[in-house]
């Protein structure tokens, strides 16, 4: 168990490092940080000076190693744009994005799981078809379009919810629905497929043969086995939502990491982008590790025999 966890951790670190190397290379190709830092009216010598002071003239691998060592100590450098420690900005913005991601995932699970279960219990019924429609619509609607439609509907036509900001729970309702709805179809389908598989399995027949109440059969025997793949998927989805919340955060002016990343990309604010990519990818890796452990708990076959 310990050896396994260590190995997974090593893999996680390796993945995060690979991603950050990739993004480092990409971002360096994208823009000269010295030029970005020097700003508007800098002269060539200003830029040269910045290169010197910040070490942008060193070989890329050296710069990367330097960055990584500092990053591991929690020091992501200073934002070129905001001129404040990136770690502080992340501490400020991550909670918003995490809240949004968490809520959206919860929404997707709350909608996707029951729909998937019901659809599996009554395949081809009207519920199944409705669930299918809901999921297909979710997949086919551009996020920003959906977001704007909601804003028009619930902030202007029926002024129930504030269109933007992050002050109260009300502010999170629409972003959650938009982001969560995007993840719902996958979860619903996987639940449905898993449930269908499990319901057709021998041990469900055994459970029924014992004379158990159908609800017990469903919720105890079937669900636990059916959600195992859903757990892994949720980790992937959560990771995706953290990275993919740019559009939602932009529309709803949520000021999370997604929007920060996007603005930082366009401002060539490399340390910020770099840090966000590293944090998001590490986060994903940690999530999938958690998903693995959760699955091990759910499925004793994976657990220590």
């Amino acid at each position: 168990m310990l050896a396994y966890s260590l190995k997974r951790l090593l893999l996680a670190v390796l993945v995060a490092v690979t991603v950050s190397v990739g993004s480092f290379a990409l971002l360096r190709a994208a823009g000269d940080p010295a030029v970005a830092m020097a700003g508007h009216s800098a002269t060539a010598s200003d830029i040269e000076f910045i290169r010197e002071t910040y070490g942008f003239n060193r070989p890329l691998p050296v710069q990367y190693a330097d960055w990584l060592v500092k990053a591991l100590q929690g020091d992501f450098g200073e934002s070129l744009y905001f001129r404040m420690p990136v770690s502080r900005m992340l501490a400020d913005k991550l909670p918003t994005t995490m809240t949004l991601g968490g809520l959206a995932l919860a929404f997707a699970l709350c909608v996707g799981l029951p729909l998937g279960i019901i659809a599996a219990i009554r395949p081809n019924s009207w519920i199944d078809r409705t669930a299918l429609l809901v999921s297909v619509t979710g997949q086919a609607m551009p996020t920003f379009w959906f977001a704007l439609v909601l804003v028009v509907l619930f902030s202007i036509t029926f002024p129930l919810l504030p269109p933007s900001g992050s002050g109260t729970w009300k502010h999170f309702v629409m972003p959650t629905v938009v982001l969560g709805y995007y993840a719902t179809p996958a979860i619903m389908r996987l639940t449905r497929a898993g449930m269908l598989d499990v319901l057709a399995s021998d041990y469900i027949r055994t459970a029924r043969a014992k004379g158990l109440h159908p609800a017990v059969v469903l919720l105890k025997h079937a669900l636990r086995n059916a959600v195992i793949p859903v757990v892994s998927l949720s980790a992937v989805q959560f990771g995706f939502m953290l990275g993919g919340s740019v559009v939602v955060e932009t529309v709803f002016a949520l000021h999370g990491t997604g929007q920060l990343a996007w603005e930082s990309i366009s401002r060539s604010d490399l340390p910020t982008v770099q840090a966000i990519v590293l944090v998001l990818s590490s986060f994903y890796v940690v999530l999938s590790l958690i998903a693995d452990l959760l699955n091990a708990w759910l499925d004793p076959r994976i657990r220590v025999a």
Binding site: L148, V152, S155, A253, E263
Partner: protein, 489 residues
């Protein structure tokens, strides 16, 4: 209707929104226009410009006088205190201006401070400023970008501290600042009487950054914010008919232009190296229709590469009217009878860019658009990588041709003309004191630029200010909304 957390008039809070993210509130270290709005609320400079008459008026100075054409003496006000209670005096002026003028400080807009040689304290309420050379724009700078900071505070917290918790003398103080997200202003009840800016009337102003235009409008319509700007004309026109909304359109000092690589700076010879191609492009675009139908508002077509009200911005330059036939002829003459392909860069006003591409296409010029973020495009321009760009320039709201034509044609990083003649004229104009000489030299430069079509000036911009009926807001031509002057109706 919803009751947003802070709902307008009832609790004396003005909610405003814009898209820009201010990295810091230290004005010397941000260049965004929104930074200027904040600066005017929080800080004061020695002088100020009357937005209507463009006259210079004393602000922190109670009076000033030119000792000679390189020296000004300022008599300072005695009744001014910074937000932290520290009294304002000569030390603050001397400290701030000398610090910012020092190249080691690396303020972002060097031209604002470069001309200052030194500032000396004469007594507690008297300072003397010495220029490196006679500077025609000196008063312009002193009444805008050169804000006075409290010496004790700034020397203690530095630019970072100031950026987060600014302390100035202005009509509003900042009580909260989440960078890129939110700024909360509180009226400075101790603001000095007799300031040309007037005393603040609204108790609290909350600014939020809302990146998406639609969301801004939605917030306005739902009462979440009271004031937004830069609303596209199509929307503004429709918003004007809404019951609780006021739309005001005002011209700005910003103008749009096409810049060509006339001197082959990219090194990969492009068709626009040829003046005839540049002229053809200029002739191919129907600027009048674009202005009338697309840009609309108070905008107008311009022909010289400066804002018409700017000092020295002569109008008797070569013009390129919409004439596709002539454009085609010029192209054929330049050796492109079958049209040509060209890379085209832009960073704003996509519809205008698209419209121009449409016009060019009609005469056989296939402009392939690369649309970039401003910062990215600016870097490309600085690095000499663009053939043909659609840009805009706001002259830092300085009403003098030095802030426009001199900015771009004096051999700087963004000078793609590199015309020694023009450079010579402009250097002369920028250092001369005599208005007539300056005007003559700018005129020469402008005419040469137009004739060579180094740039094709397009039109002046306009801004739509959209706000709730509850407030009285007066737009100004310099594109600097003055929130301290806003009042409840």
């Amino acid at each position: 209707a919803p009751a947003p957390a802070s709902a307008g008039k009832a609790d004396d809070t003005l909610n405003i929104a814009w898209a820009g993210e201010l990295p810091t509130l230290d004005r010397y270290f941000n260049v965004l226009r929104e930074g200027e709005l904040v600066a005017r609320m929080v800080f004061d400079s020695l002088l100020t410009v009357d937005p209507q008459t463009f006259d210079y008026k004393p602000l922190l100075a109670s009076s000033y006088r030119f000792v000679d054409n390189r020296t000004i003496e300022f008599e300072l006000r005695r009744d001014v205190r910074f937000h932290d209670g520290e009294p304002f005096d000569a030390d603050d002026v001397v400290y701030t201006l000398n610090l910012m003028a020092d190249p080691a400080t690396r303020v972002l807009s060097r031209q604002n401070v470069d001309w200052i040689e030194k500032v000396e304290k004469i007594d507690t309420h008297m300072v003397r400023l010495t220029m490196k050379a006679p500077t025609p724009l000196a008063l312009e700078y002193l009444s805008g970008p050169l804000l006075i900071y409290p010496r004790d505070y700034y020397s203690k917290v530095g630019s970072q501290g100031m950026g987060l918790r600014p302390v100035g003398t202005g009509p509003y103080k900042v009580t909260a600042f989440d960078p890129g997200k939110r700024i909360v202003f509180e009226a400075n009840r101790a603001y000095f009487d007799g300031s040309p800016k007037g005393r603040p009337t609204i108790g609290r102003i909350v600014q939020r950054t809302i990146p998406d235009q639609n969301t801004q409008i939605a917030e306005l319509l739902s009462g979440g914010v009271d004031w937004i700007w830069n609303v596209p004309n199509d929307q503004a026109a429709k918003l004007a008919s809404m019951p609780n909304v006021v739309v005001q359109n005002a011209q700005t000092m910003r103008f749009g232009y096409l810049a060509f690589d006339a001197s082959n700076r990219t090194g990969h010879s492009s068709p626009v190296n040829d003046v005839r191609v540049r002229q053809a492009i200029a002739h191919s675009i129907d600027r009048k229709t674009i202005v009338k139908r697309l840009v609309r508002g108070a905008s107008e077509v311009i022909d010289a590469v400066c804002f018409p009200t700017q000092f020295g911005c002569v109008q008797d330059v070569a013009t390129y009217d919409y004439d596709p036939v002539k454009a085609k002829a010029l192209l054929a003459d330049a050796g492109y009878p079958n049209g040509l392909d060209i890379e085209f860069h832009a960073y704003r006003d996509r519809p205008v860019a698209e419209a121009m591409i449409g016009y060019m296409k009609a005469v056989g010029i296939n402009a392939k658009l690369t649309y970039l973020q401003y910062e990215a495009l600016r870097d490309k321009v600085y690095n000499g990588e663009t053939d043909f760009t659609f840009m805009s320039w706001g002259s830092y709201s300085i009403n003098d041709a030095a802030a426009s034509v001199s900015q771009f044609f004096k051999g700087s990083k963004d000078d793609y003309a590199r015309d020694p003649q023009v450079i010579g004229w402009l250097e002369g104009a920028d250092s001369a004191i005599d208005p007539a000489t300056r005007k003559d030299l700018y005129g020469k430069a402008l005419r040469r630029i137009a004739e060579q079509a180094y740039w094709q000036p397009l039109f002046t911009y306009n801004v739509n200010y959209v706000h709730s009926k509850d407030i009285a807001f007066t737009p100004t031509a310099d594109e600097i909304p003055r929130f301290y002057a806003v009042t409840w109706k």
